[in-house]
């Protein structure tokens, strides 16, 4: 299986299926990111099959976190792209010049119409049409800012492609944690998980205003589910504690719970065991394995400590100076001389 033919970088279609491997959940295709003259990530391919634990390891500064941030839609890649479940999500914009026309055109159309009507001597109607045109123009402008689904679908019909935003990646099924913990520090643990559940809750503004039975039932069910998730990650009974008052290891676990709350198909963990003691590290590894085995969630793990990932990964990719230097099973990677060199330096000759 080669990743390179999964998605040609120039493919204009957004919904190109990943031809090579229908099982692939996430396919990163020749992802490159340059910051000025520095190439942080150079043509990295990665495939995450469904239900697997894949790890990216590499020494500090290898570009792991940059790669990770590209996958979740925070950083736009300089070249290459990422597709999720066969749908292209991240990449260079395509035919972006069409987009302004999409939201200007309806307004202009109304303006032309109004001019024609005015020429026909119907001034009153012409003014009405212009007002409608302005409203339509404002609505389209707003749609371009908010990017609702119908707008994206319309753009897709015109062959326009733009990278997904982080929240759109979350909606596509990616849950993530952060290398330096980013919890909502002044909220309780339960509230943190409830925020993570955002995508799964359906109550709208009107429900909130009227405090409908539906929204109250939903909130109650969500709170119960949040407690379940807290129990799953080992934070039972800590729901009311403030996130910032939790011990370090618990904060990491709470981040996992928050990421799980959106019921992701792929969980991205950025150095989930950094700063943990050996005991906590073992617990985290057990938890990651449990998530995969019991909930069927695929996991992408980023670590700079090789030993953490060896026991649990199905597949390991090694990055160094932004380039992929090795990949394969944990054992093969550990034996790879290039990897040893990257971690320990060149052997004296």
């Amino acid at each position: 299986m080669t990743d390179n033919d999964a998605l040609p970088a120039s493919a204009p279609a957004i919904a190109t299926p990943a031809t090579a491997d229908a099982d692939a959940l996430l396919v990163a295709d020749r992802v490159t990111k340059q910051f000025g003259g520095l190439t942080a990530v150079r043509e990295v391919d990665l495939t995450i099959p469904r239900g697997s634990i894949v790890s990216i390891i590499g020494p500090n500064g290898a570009g792991k976190t940059t790669f990770f941030n590209i996958i979740v839609g925070i950083i736009e890649p300089t070249a290459g792209g990422v597709s999720m479940a066969g749908r292209r999500m991240i990449g260079r914009p395509l035919r972006a010049w069409i987009e302004p026309f999409v939201w200007i055109a309806p307004g202009v159309l109304f303006f032309v119409l109004a001019t024609l009507i005015a020429l026909a001597g119907q001034d009153e109607i012409g003014v009405g049409v212009i007002i409608v045109g302005l409203v339509v123009f404002a609505a389209m402008l707003l749609a371009a800012v908010i990017r609702p689904r119908w707008y994206l679908n319309m753009l897709q019909r015109f062959g326009v492609f733009r990278s997904a935003r982080p929240n759109e990646m979350a909606a596509a099924g990616i849950g993530r944690t952060f290398q330096n913990i980013r919890l909502f520090a002044n909220a309780s643990a339960r509230e943190n998980v409830l925020v993570g559940m955002h995508l799964k809750l359906k109550s709208n503004l009107l429900d909130a205003f009227l405090s409908t039975g539906r929204s109250r039932r939903e909130e109650a069910a969500a709170a119960a589910k949040a407690d379940e998730l807290l129990e799953l990650v080992g934070l039972k009974g800590r729901g009311d504690a403030l996130a910032k008052n939790l011990p370090y290891g618990d904060q990491r676990r709470l981040e996992v719970a928050r990421a799980l709350a959106s019921e992701p198909s792929l969980l991205l963990l950025d150095e989930p065991t950094s700063g943990m003691n050996p005991n906590e590290t073992t617990e985290m590894r057990v938890l990651i394995k449990k998530l995969r085995d019991e909930l069927g969630i695929s996991v992408l793990l980023i670590e700079h400590d090789m030993h953490v990932v060896m026991g649990i990964s199905d597949h390991v990719t090694v990055l160094d100076h932004g380039e992929k230097i090795a990949e394969g099973s944990p054992e093969a990677v550990r034996a790879n001389p290039k990897v040893i060199e990257a971690y320990l330096g060149t052997a004296a000759t």
């Binding site: 707003l142 509230e191 405090s211 403030l242 008052n245 939790l246 370090y248």
Partner: protein, 389 residues
């Protein structure tokens, strides 16, 4: 006195009240406002207060202070809940006012004659629309930059109304704005007029009570949580699937719609709209009210707005009269009303130094501003020094 009424259900020694509040939050809010509505006109008849000014003037002042309370509640959504510093909030107040002027005043060029009650909703909706339109370009900005852009909008809108002479009659503004009217029930008629402030007063309390219920419902909903999330950490919020753009726009829209209510009410209460009602001073005063009362806590904001307005419109005047009547040497020559912004400034500086979370902060805001206090002693303090790069 408002403080006491508002704070009563929160105290610990009143468990049954607290239980009632938790189970019927909206009803509690309505009841508290009902008590306030009845109590305020009675309290001002008690001697020390009744000597200042007659009851009718007090009630008239309360009705106008209600406008500022509404504005403060609306700004609190934007600043306190979503954490977006908006210095041009008076723009939405202006849009609400002018909307009603155009819709109802016979002197406006539109010559429409739409009554007050539907316009209350329409004014709020139009203000919300402009909230979204003005909010949209600022979405990528935070903190200082956002404040400056909103400051610009706050200046543009009154300037527009001032200079669009043909539509708005410039400095003269639009007068002759009608008062609300209600159908009589049998012999019982409620007549809104400049002379009798009571109908306006009760209408204002009604609007405040409803707005307050809605705000608390929002706060406890999914949207309220999303605002908390983007205020605390925008990146983490967006990675949790929250659309930060719609969430912020909704904060702008809902804040603006509250200002729209205030604008329509104010236009009808005062009978005219002029551009100088919506200068930067208004935005600043309302922001000071929110900060003083306690960002993020609607009741705190209500008290802050009420206190500041009363100080500005009653206390300073009374102070003048008192010092003059007593012939206090230097003080009798000082016009305190002129120095109100000096006093605001001093109050705000003192506030920021001594109690940055405001007089009645929400619990969360207090935690944000006092990072060092760890409230639950049985839990170890967080470790933070272990991050790699």
């Amino acid at each position: 006195m408002t403080a006491k009424v508002a704070a009563a259900p929160r105290s610990d020694w009143r468990a049954p009240f607290q239980k009632f509040r938790d189970e019927h939050h909206s009803l509690t809010i309505l009841l508290i406002w009902l008590i306030i509505a009845i109590a305020l006109p009675l309290i001002v008849q008690i001697p020390p207060l009744s000597t200042f000014q007659p009851q009718i003037v007090w009630v008239d002042g309360f009705a106008i202070s209600g406008i500022y309370i509404l504005l403060a509640l609306g700004l609190n959504i934007v600043v306190g809940f979503a954490g977006l510093l908006d210095l041009g909030y008076a723009a939405f107040f202006a849009i609400g006012s002018y909307t009603f002027a155009f819709a109802a005043s016979p002197q406006a060029i539109t010559h429409l004659n739409i009554p007050f009650w539907p316009m209350l909703i329409v004014g709020a909706l139009i203000a919300a629309l402009f909230g979204v339109l003005l909010g949209a370009p600022t979405l990528r900005l935070r903190g200082d930059y956002l404040a400056i852009v909103t400051l610009g909008f706050g200046e543009i809108v009154p300037a527009l109304f001032l200079n669009a002479d043909a539509l708005t009659k410039g400095t003269n503004g639009i007068g002759g704005i009608p008062q609300p009217s209600l159908p009589c029930i049998g012999d019982f008629c409620v007549k809104f007029s400049f002379i009798d402030p009571f109908p306006f007063y009760f209408t204002m309390i009604g609007i405040l009570a409803i707005v307050m219920v809605l705000i608390y419902r929002l706060l406890e909903s999914r949207l309220g949580r999303s605002w908390m999330a983007i205020r605390e950490d925008e990146l983490a919020a967006s990675s949790s699937g929250i659309n930060t753009i719609t969430t912020k726009l909704l904060a702008f829209a809902l804040g603006a719609s509250t200002a729209g209510f205030a604008g329509v009410f104010s236009a009808s209460k005062l009978g005219n709209v002029t551009p100088d009602q919506f200068l930067f001073v208004v935005s600043f005063t309302v922001l000071a009210m929110v900060v003083l009362g306690g960002m993020g806590n609607p009741w705190g904001v209500v008290i802050g707005a009420f206190t500041l307005y009363t100080i500005q419109s009653v206390v300073l005047k009374e102070l003048n009269q008192f010092f003059q009547s007593q012939h206090v040497p230097i003080l009798q020559n000082i016009d305190f009303v002129q120095y109100q912004f000096l006093l605001y400034g001093i109050a705000l500086v003192g506030m920021m130094l001594l109690r940055p979370e405001g007089l009645f902060p929400s619990n969360r805001r207090r935690r944000e501003l006092h990072q060092e206090t760890v409230e639950e002693t049985d839990i170890a303090p967080p470790t933070t020094a272990l991050d790699e790069s």
